[in-house]
Symmetry: C2
Subunit: 236 residues, 2 copies
Protein backbone atom coordinates (compact mmCIF):
# COMPACT_ATOMS: atom_id res chain seq x y z
CA UNK A 1 0.00 0.00 0.00
CA UNK A 2 1.41 3.39 -0.97
CA UNK A 3 1.03 6.52 1.14
CA UNK A 4 -0.48 9.86 0.20
CA UNK A 5 0.27 13.17 1.91
CA UNK A 6 -0.78 16.77 1.23
CA UNK A 7 1.41 19.82 1.81
CA UNK A 8 -0.69 23.01 1.95
CA UNK A 9 2.00 25.44 0.81
CA UNK A 10 5.63 25.56 -0.36
CA UNK A 11 6.62 27.21 2.93
CA UNK A 12 5.81 23.94 4.76
CA UNK A 13 7.47 21.65 2.21
CA UNK A 14 10.80 21.38 4.05
CA UNK A 15 8.97 19.55 6.85
CA UNK A 16 8.09 16.70 4.47
CA UNK A 17 10.43 14.03 3.17
CA UNK A 18 10.02 13.95 -0.61
CA UNK A 19 12.68 11.30 -1.21
CA UNK A 20 11.44 8.58 -3.53
CA UNK A 21 7.99 10.18 -3.76
CA UNK A 22 6.00 11.62 -6.64
CA UNK A 23 5.27 15.28 -5.97
CA UNK A 24 2.09 16.54 -7.65
CA UNK A 25 2.27 20.34 -7.93
CA UNK A 26 -1.12 22.08 -7.88
CA UNK A 27 -1.97 25.71 -8.63
CA UNK A 28 -5.55 25.65 -9.83
CA UNK A 29 -5.85 29.45 -10.28
CA UNK A 30 -3.93 29.41 -12.52
CA UNK A 31 -0.46 28.00 -13.18
CA UNK A 32 -1.08 24.27 -13.34
CA UNK A 33 -4.35 24.81 -15.23
CA UNK A 34 -2.43 26.91 -17.75
CA UNK A 35 0.34 24.30 -18.03
CA UNK A 36 -2.17 21.53 -18.71
CA UNK A 37 -3.87 23.72 -21.32
CA UNK A 38 -0.55 24.39 -23.06
CA UNK A 39 0.20 20.66 -23.29
CA UNK A 40 -3.33 19.92 -24.44
CA UNK A 41 -2.73 22.36 -27.28
CA UNK A 42 0.60 20.93 -28.31
CA UNK A 43 3.38 22.85 -26.52
CA UNK A 44 6.67 20.95 -26.86
CA UNK A 45 8.10 21.87 -23.47
CA UNK A 46 7.77 24.45 -20.69
CA UNK A 47 10.67 25.89 -18.71
CA UNK A 48 9.34 26.97 -15.30
CA UNK A 49 11.43 29.72 -13.71
CA UNK A 50 11.07 31.19 -10.26
CA UNK A 51 12.60 34.64 -10.69
CA UNK A 52 11.48 37.54 -12.83
CA UNK A 53 15.12 38.28 -13.73
CA UNK A 54 15.60 34.76 -15.01
CA UNK A 55 12.43 35.03 -17.12
CA UNK A 56 13.70 38.34 -18.55
CA UNK A 57 17.06 36.77 -19.41
CA UNK A 58 15.28 34.03 -21.37
CA UNK A 59 13.26 36.69 -23.20
CA UNK A 60 16.48 38.44 -24.20
CA UNK A 61 17.73 35.15 -25.63
CA UNK A 62 14.65 35.01 -27.86
CA UNK A 63 12.41 32.61 -25.93
CA UNK A 64 8.64 32.99 -25.82
CA UNK A 65 7.92 34.07 -22.22
CA UNK A 66 4.78 33.92 -20.08
CA UNK A 67 5.27 35.91 -16.88
CA UNK A 68 2.88 37.23 -14.26
CA UNK A 69 3.06 38.62 -10.75
CA UNK A 70 0.05 39.22 -8.51
CA UNK A 71 -2.18 38.16 -11.39
CA UNK A 72 -0.90 40.71 -13.92
CA UNK A 73 1.27 40.24 -17.01
CA UNK A 74 4.80 41.62 -16.67
CA UNK A 75 5.63 44.20 -19.31
CA UNK A 76 8.48 42.30 -20.99
CA UNK A 77 6.44 39.08 -21.32
CA UNK A 78 4.77 37.82 -24.48
CA UNK A 79 1.70 36.63 -22.60
CA UNK A 80 -0.05 36.92 -19.25
CA UNK A 81 -1.42 33.95 -17.39
CA UNK A 82 -4.88 33.16 -18.81
CA UNK A 83 -5.32 29.62 -20.13
CA UNK A 84 -7.38 31.10 -22.98
CA UNK A 85 -4.29 32.65 -24.60
CA UNK A 86 -2.70 29.28 -25.30
CA UNK A 87 -4.52 28.01 -28.36
CA UNK A 88 -2.91 25.43 -30.68
CA UNK A 89 -2.00 28.29 -33.04
CA UNK A 90 -0.02 29.96 -30.26
CA UNK A 91 1.80 27.06 -28.62
CA UNK A 92 1.92 23.98 -30.87
CA UNK A 93 5.48 22.68 -31.10
CA UNK A 94 6.91 25.58 -29.10
CA UNK A 95 9.17 25.90 -26.04
CA UNK A 96 7.69 28.34 -23.52
CA UNK A 97 9.36 29.94 -20.50
CA UNK A 98 6.91 30.35 -17.63
CA UNK A 99 7.06 32.36 -14.39
CA UNK A 100 4.16 33.06 -12.01
CA UNK A 101 3.56 34.30 -8.47
CA UNK A 102 3.08 30.91 -6.82
CA UNK A 103 2.94 27.95 -9.19
CA UNK A 104 6.40 28.02 -10.72
CA UNK A 105 7.89 28.60 -7.27
CA UNK A 106 6.16 25.40 -6.08
CA UNK A 107 7.58 23.45 -9.02
CA UNK A 108 11.07 24.68 -8.11
CA UNK A 109 10.58 23.86 -4.42
CA UNK A 110 9.52 20.30 -5.27
CA UNK A 111 12.25 19.61 -7.80
CA UNK A 112 14.32 17.19 -5.70
CA UNK A 113 11.52 14.63 -5.44
CA UNK A 114 11.78 11.37 -7.31
CA UNK A 115 9.24 12.67 -9.86
CA UNK A 116 7.53 16.05 -10.17
CA UNK A 117 4.25 16.12 -12.03
CA UNK A 118 1.53 18.70 -12.65
CA UNK A 119 -2.06 18.31 -11.49
CA UNK A 120 -5.22 20.27 -12.21
CA UNK A 121 -8.90 19.49 -12.62
CA UNK A 122 -8.23 19.67 -16.37
CA UNK A 123 -6.11 16.49 -16.31
CA UNK A 124 -7.63 14.94 -13.16
CA UNK A 125 -8.41 11.41 -14.38
CA UNK A 126 -5.13 11.20 -16.28
CA UNK A 127 -3.21 12.09 -13.09
CA UNK A 128 -5.17 9.52 -11.08
CA UNK A 129 -4.37 6.85 -13.67
CA UNK A 130 -0.70 7.86 -13.79
CA UNK A 131 -0.26 7.85 -9.99
CA UNK A 132 -2.11 4.55 -9.63
CA UNK A 133 0.34 2.90 -12.03
CA UNK A 134 3.59 4.12 -10.43
CA UNK A 135 3.63 2.21 -7.12
CA UNK A 136 5.22 5.14 -5.34
CA UNK A 137 4.19 7.32 -2.41
CA UNK A 138 2.50 10.58 -3.44
CA UNK A 139 2.95 14.05 -1.96
CA UNK A 140 0.53 16.69 -3.25
CA UNK A 141 2.17 20.14 -3.08
CA UNK A 142 -0.34 23.00 -3.13
CA UNK A 143 1.15 26.23 -4.48
CA UNK A 144 -1.06 28.28 -2.16
CA UNK A 145 -0.88 32.07 -2.14
CA UNK A 146 2.41 33.74 -1.20
CA UNK A 147 3.36 30.97 1.20
CA UNK A 148 -0.11 30.58 2.69
CA UNK A 149 -2.90 28.00 2.42
CA UNK A 150 -5.47 28.46 -0.33
CA UNK A 151 -8.81 26.75 -0.78
CA UNK A 152 -8.80 26.01 -4.51
CA UNK A 153 -5.59 23.94 -4.43
CA UNK A 154 -6.82 22.17 -1.30
CA UNK A 155 -10.08 21.22 -2.99
CA UNK A 156 -8.11 19.62 -5.82
CA UNK A 157 -5.87 17.85 -3.28
CA UNK A 158 -9.03 16.54 -1.59
CA UNK A 159 -10.59 15.32 -4.82
CA UNK A 160 -7.35 13.59 -5.80
CA UNK A 161 -6.73 12.08 -2.34
CA UNK A 162 -10.30 10.83 -2.21
CA UNK A 163 -9.95 9.10 -5.56
CA UNK A 164 -6.61 7.50 -4.65
CA UNK A 165 -7.82 6.33 -1.22
CA UNK A 166 -11.00 4.89 -2.76
CA UNK A 167 -8.90 2.88 -5.22
CA UNK A 168 -7.53 0.84 -2.31
CA UNK A 169 -3.96 1.44 -3.56
CA UNK A 170 -3.24 4.28 -1.12
CA UNK A 171 -3.70 5.05 2.53
CA UNK A 172 -2.58 7.88 4.80
CA UNK A 173 -1.65 9.00 8.28
CA UNK A 174 -1.58 12.66 7.20
CA UNK A 175 -4.06 15.08 8.81
CA UNK A 176 -3.87 17.34 5.75
CA UNK A 177 -5.22 14.55 3.55
CA UNK A 178 -8.26 14.06 5.77
CA UNK A 179 -8.84 17.81 5.92
CA UNK A 180 -8.57 18.18 2.13
CA UNK A 181 -11.01 15.29 1.56
CA UNK A 182 -13.52 16.73 4.03
CA UNK A 183 -13.29 20.16 2.37
CA UNK A 184 -13.80 18.60 -1.06
CA UNK A 185 -16.84 16.76 0.33
CA UNK A 186 -18.22 20.04 1.71
CA UNK A 187 -17.68 21.87 -1.60
CA UNK A 188 -18.17 19.44 -4.46
CA UNK A 189 -21.96 19.54 -4.81
CA UNK A 190 -22.22 23.33 -4.61
CA UNK A 191 -19.00 24.44 -6.24
CA UNK A 192 -20.52 27.55 -7.85
CA UNK A 193 -21.43 29.00 -4.46
CA UNK A 194 -18.51 27.48 -2.53
CA UNK A 195 -16.04 29.27 -4.79
CA UNK A 196 -17.26 32.59 -3.34
CA UNK A 197 -15.13 31.77 -0.27
CA UNK A 198 -11.94 31.60 -2.37
CA UNK A 199 -9.84 34.76 -1.94
CA UNK A 200 -8.12 34.20 -5.29
CA UNK A 201 -11.49 34.39 -7.04
CA UNK A 202 -11.93 37.89 -5.69
CA UNK A 203 -8.35 38.90 -6.57
CA UNK A 204 -8.90 37.75 -10.17
CA UNK A 205 -12.29 39.45 -10.31
CA UNK A 206 -10.71 42.78 -9.33
CA UNK A 207 -8.32 42.36 -12.27
CA UNK A 208 -11.14 41.36 -14.65
CA UNK A 209 -9.54 37.92 -14.97
CA UNK A 210 -12.15 35.74 -13.25
CA UNK A 211 -13.62 34.48 -16.53
CA UNK A 212 -11.16 31.56 -16.31
CA UNK A 213 -12.56 30.09 -13.09
CA UNK A 214 -15.28 27.86 -14.51
CA UNK A 215 -12.79 26.41 -16.98
CA UNK A 216 -10.12 25.84 -14.29
CA UNK A 217 -12.62 23.79 -12.25
CA UNK A 218 -13.74 21.62 -15.17
CA UNK A 219 -12.67 17.99 -15.09
CA UNK A 220 -10.79 16.07 -17.74
CA UNK A 221 -10.18 18.44 -20.62
CA UNK A 222 -6.93 16.61 -21.46
CA UNK A 223 -5.18 13.30 -20.86
CA UNK A 224 -1.73 14.94 -20.68
CA UNK A 225 0.39 14.43 -17.56
CA UNK A 226 3.34 16.85 -17.59
CA UNK A 227 6.48 15.76 -15.72
CA UNK A 228 9.67 17.64 -14.91
CA UNK A 229 12.78 16.41 -16.71
CA UNK A 230 15.81 18.43 -15.69
CA UNK A 231 14.57 22.02 -15.79
CA UNK A 232 11.80 21.38 -18.32
CA UNK A 233 8.23 20.14 -18.17
CA UNK A 234 7.46 17.63 -20.89
CA UNK A 235 4.79 15.04 -21.69
CA UNK A 236 6.09 11.66 -22.71
CA UNK B 1 -15.36 45.39 11.80
CA UNK B 2 -12.25 43.47 12.90
CA UNK B 3 -10.58 40.76 10.84
CA UNK B 4 -9.86 37.17 11.75
CA UNK B 5 -7.19 35.00 10.15
CA UNK B 6 -5.93 31.47 10.83
CA UNK B 7 -2.33 30.32 10.43
CA UNK B 8 -2.11 26.51 10.24
CA UNK B 9 1.43 26.13 11.57
CA UNK B 10 4.33 28.17 12.95
CA UNK B 11 6.30 27.50 9.75
CA UNK B 12 3.81 29.68 7.81
CA UNK B 13 3.63 32.46 10.41
CA UNK B 14 6.26 34.68 8.77
CA UNK B 15 3.86 35.13 5.82
CA UNK B 16 1.33 36.84 8.10
CA UNK B 17 1.55 40.35 9.48
CA UNK B 18 0.94 40.10 13.23
CA UNK B 19 1.49 43.81 13.94
CA UNK B 20 -1.28 45.21 16.11
CA UNK B 21 -3.11 41.86 16.18
CA UNK B 22 -4.01 39.49 18.97
CA UNK B 23 -2.37 36.12 18.33
CA UNK B 24 -4.27 33.19 19.85
CA UNK B 25 -1.89 30.23 20.20
CA UNK B 26 -3.56 26.82 20.01
CA UNK B 27 -2.13 23.38 20.76
CA UNK B 28 -5.12 21.29 21.78
CA UNK B 29 -3.12 18.04 22.27
CA UNK B 30 -1.73 19.15 24.62
CA UNK B 31 0.18 22.34 25.45
CA UNK B 32 -2.55 24.98 25.50
CA UNK B 33 -4.97 22.57 27.21
CA UNK B 34 -2.31 21.96 29.87
CA UNK B 35 -1.65 25.70 30.27
CA UNK B 36 -5.36 26.42 30.76
CA UNK B 37 -5.57 23.60 33.30
CA UNK B 38 -2.62 25.00 35.24
CA UNK B 39 -4.22 28.45 35.44
CA UNK B 40 -7.57 26.90 36.37
CA UNK B 41 -5.80 25.25 39.28
CA UNK B 42 -4.03 28.35 40.47
CA UNK B 43 -0.57 28.51 38.87
CA UNK B 44 0.93 31.98 39.36
CA UNK B 45 2.81 32.17 36.07
CA UNK B 46 4.23 29.94 33.33
CA UNK B 47 7.54 30.55 31.55
CA UNK B 48 7.30 28.95 28.09
CA UNK B 49 10.70 28.01 26.67
CA UNK B 50 11.49 26.69 23.24
CA UNK B 51 14.74 24.80 23.81
CA UNK B 52 15.45 21.75 25.95
CA UNK B 53 18.75 23.29 27.08
CA UNK B 54 16.98 26.41 28.31
CA UNK B 55 14.47 24.26 30.25
CA UNK B 56 17.36 22.32 31.79
CA UNK B 57 19.09 25.56 32.83
CA UNK B 58 15.90 26.68 34.63
CA UNK B 59 15.78 23.29 36.39
CA UNK B 60 19.33 23.77 37.60
CA UNK B 61 18.32 27.15 39.04
CA UNK B 62 15.63 25.41 41.10
CA UNK B 63 12.51 26.04 38.99
CA UNK B 64 9.72 23.49 38.65
CA UNK B 65 9.98 22.28 35.06
CA UNK B 66 7.51 20.56 32.72
CA UNK B 67 9.26 19.32 29.60
CA UNK B 68 8.28 16.89 26.89
CA UNK B 69 9.47 15.93 23.43
CA UNK B 70 7.52 13.69 21.03
CA UNK B 71 4.94 13.17 23.77
CA UNK B 72 7.33 11.84 26.40
CA UNK B 73 8.62 13.46 29.60
CA UNK B 74 12.30 14.46 29.47
CA UNK B 75 14.34 12.80 32.22
CA UNK B 76 15.41 16.00 34.01
CA UNK B 77 11.84 17.37 34.16
CA UNK B 78 9.57 17.35 37.20
CA UNK B 79 6.50 16.51 35.14
CA UNK B 80 5.47 15.29 31.70
CA UNK B 81 2.69 16.90 29.70
CA UNK B 82 -0.62 15.45 30.92
CA UNK B 83 -3.16 18.01 32.15
CA UNK B 84 -4.09 15.54 34.90
CA UNK B 85 -0.78 16.10 36.72
CA UNK B 86 -1.56 19.74 37.44
CA UNK B 87 -3.92 19.63 40.39
CA UNK B 88 -4.29 22.62 42.73
CA UNK B 89 -2.01 20.80 45.20
CA UNK B 90 0.73 20.70 42.56
CA UNK B 91 0.55 24.14 40.96
CA UNK B 92 -1.30 26.63 43.16
CA UNK B 93 0.75 29.81 43.55
CA UNK B 94 3.75 28.35 41.68
CA UNK B 95 5.92 29.50 38.78
CA UNK B 96 6.32 26.71 36.22
CA UNK B 97 8.78 26.47 33.33
CA UNK B 98 7.24 24.73 30.34
CA UNK B 99 8.73 23.28 27.16
CA UNK B 100 6.95 21.02 24.64
CA UNK B 101 7.42 19.74 21.08
CA UNK B 102 5.11 22.21 19.35
CA UNK B 103 3.10 24.46 21.66
CA UNK B 104 5.82 26.44 23.38
CA UNK B 105 7.55 26.93 20.03
CA UNK B 106 4.35 28.49 18.69
CA UNK B 107 4.15 30.86 21.67
CA UNK B 108 7.73 31.95 20.97
CA UNK B 109 7.05 32.40 17.25
CA UNK B 110 4.04 34.62 17.97
CA UNK B 111 5.67 36.73 20.64
CA UNK B 112 6.03 39.95 18.61
CA UNK B 113 2.29 40.35 18.16
CA UNK B 114 0.43 43.11 19.97
CA UNK B 115 -0.98 40.52 22.40
CA UNK B 116 -0.35 36.76 22.66
CA UNK B 117 -3.05 34.72 24.34
CA UNK B 118 -3.72 31.02 24.87
CA UNK B 119 -6.77 29.22 23.48
CA UNK B 120 -8.18 25.74 24.07
CA UNK B 121 -11.62 24.19 24.27
CA UNK B 122 -11.19 24.36 28.04
CA UNK B 123 -11.38 28.18 28.04
CA UNK B 124 -13.35 28.58 24.79
CA UNK B 125 -16.14 30.94 25.90
CA UNK B 126 -13.74 33.02 27.95
CA UNK B 127 -11.49 33.51 24.91
CA UNK B 128 -14.47 34.45 22.74
CA UNK B 129 -15.56 37.01 25.33
CA UNK B 130 -12.03 38.38 25.68
CA UNK B 131 -11.47 38.72 21.90
CA UNK B 132 -14.90 40.29 21.39
CA UNK B 133 -14.03 43.03 23.88
CA UNK B 134 -10.61 44.00 22.48
CA UNK B 135 -11.53 45.64 19.14
CA UNK B 136 -8.40 44.25 17.51
CA UNK B 137 -7.77 41.93 14.58
CA UNK B 138 -7.25 38.30 15.56
CA UNK B 139 -4.74 35.80 14.17
CA UNK B 140 -5.17 32.21 15.38
CA UNK B 141 -1.81 30.42 15.36
CA UNK B 142 -2.14 26.64 15.32
CA UNK B 143 0.90 24.90 16.81
CA UNK B 144 0.49 21.97 14.41
CA UNK B 145 2.89 19.04 14.48
CA UNK B 146 6.57 19.66 13.76
CA UNK B 147 5.84 22.50 11.36
CA UNK B 148 2.89 20.78 9.67
CA UNK B 149 -0.88 21.21 9.73
CA UNK B 150 -2.84 19.24 12.34
CA UNK B 151 -6.56 18.62 12.58
CA UNK B 152 -7.20 19.15 16.28
CA UNK B 153 -5.85 22.73 16.35
CA UNK B 154 -7.71 23.49 13.12
CA UNK B 155 -11.00 22.27 14.61
CA UNK B 156 -10.54 24.68 17.51
CA UNK B 157 -9.65 27.48 15.07
CA UNK B 158 -12.85 26.68 13.18
CA UNK B 159 -15.01 26.68 16.30
CA UNK B 160 -13.50 29.98 17.42
CA UNK B 161 -13.71 31.63 13.99
CA UNK B 162 -17.30 30.50 13.62
CA UNK B 163 -18.24 32.05 16.96
CA UNK B 164 -16.45 35.33 16.20
CA UNK B 165 -17.93 35.60 12.70
CA UNK B 166 -21.42 34.85 14.03
CA UNK B 167 -21.07 37.67 16.56
CA UNK B 168 -21.01 40.17 13.70
CA UNK B 169 -17.87 41.80 15.16
CA UNK B 170 -15.46 40.00 12.81
CA UNK B 171 -15.17 39.17 9.16
CA UNK B 172 -12.47 37.61 7.00
CA UNK B 173 -10.85 37.32 3.61
CA UNK B 174 -8.69 34.41 4.75
CA UNK B 175 -9.13 31.02 3.05
CA UNK B 176 -7.82 29.25 6.16
CA UNK B 177 -10.68 30.65 8.23
CA UNK B 178 -13.29 29.28 5.82
CA UNK B 179 -11.51 25.92 5.72
CA UNK B 180 -11.30 25.72 9.52
CA UNK B 181 -15.01 26.58 9.91
CA UNK B 182 -16.02 23.97 7.32
CA UNK B 183 -13.89 21.32 9.05
CA UNK B 184 -15.43 22.21 12.42
CA UNK B 185 -18.87 21.89 10.83
CA UNK B 186 -17.95 18.48 9.44
CA UNK B 187 -16.62 17.27 12.80
CA UNK B 188 -18.61 18.87 15.59
CA UNK B 189 -21.61 16.53 15.74
CA UNK B 190 -19.56 13.34 15.59
CA UNK B 191 -16.40 14.32 17.42
CA UNK B 192 -15.86 10.88 19.00
CA UNK B 193 -15.54 9.25 15.58
CA UNK B 194 -13.99 12.25 13.79
CA UNK B 195 -11.09 12.23 16.22
CA UNK B 196 -10.00 8.86 14.78
CA UNK B 197 -8.60 10.83 11.81
CA UNK B 198 -6.27 12.84 14.07
CA UNK B 199 -2.69 11.55 13.83
CA UNK B 200 -1.81 12.94 17.26
CA UNK B 201 -4.51 10.76 18.83
CA UNK B 202 -2.70 7.70 17.51
CA UNK B 203 0.72 9.00 18.61
CA UNK B 204 -0.62 9.55 22.15
CA UNK B 205 -2.32 6.12 22.12
CA UNK B 206 0.97 4.42 21.32
CA UNK B 207 2.47 6.13 24.38
CA UNK B 208 -0.52 5.22 26.58
CA UNK B 209 -1.31 8.94 26.91
CA UNK B 210 -4.59 9.15 25.00
CA UNK B 211 -6.71 9.24 28.18
CA UNK B 212 -6.47 13.06 28.04
CA UNK B 213 -8.27 13.47 24.71
CA UNK B 214 -11.87 13.60 25.95
CA UNK B 215 -10.87 16.21 28.51
CA UNK B 216 -8.92 18.32 25.97
CA UNK B 217 -12.03 18.51 23.76
CA UNK B 218 -14.38 19.54 26.57
CA UNK B 219 -15.67 23.10 26.47
CA UNK B 220 -15.46 25.70 29.21
CA UNK B 221 -13.72 24.11 32.13
CA UNK B 222 -12.26 27.49 33.14
CA UNK B 223 -12.76 31.20 32.57
CA UNK B 224 -9.03 31.95 32.63
CA UNK B 225 -7.46 33.68 29.61
CA UNK B 226 -3.65 33.49 29.86
CA UNK B 227 -1.68 36.27 28.15
CA UNK B 228 2.03 36.66 27.55
CA UNK B 229 3.71 39.46 29.51
CA UNK B 230 7.40 39.67 28.69
CA UNK B 231 8.54 36.04 28.78
CA UNK B 232 5.78 34.87 31.14
CA UNK B 233 2.19 33.73 30.78
CA UNK B 234 -0.07 35.24 33.40
CA UNK B 235 -3.80 35.71 34.00
CA UNK B 236 -4.82 39.17 35.04
Amino acid sequence: MNKIEVCFSPSVFSHFDSTDKIVVVVDILRATSVICTMFKNGVKEIIPVRDVEEAKAYKEKGFLVVAERNGEKLDFADFGNSPFYFTPETVDGKTIVYSTTNGTNAITVGKDASVVTIGSFLNFSAVVKYLSAQQKDVLVLCAGWKGKFCLEDTLFAGALSNELMQSGLFDTKCDSVYAAIDLWDAAKDTMDTYIEKVAQKHRLKKLGLDNVIGYCFSFDQTDKVPVLEGNRLVCK
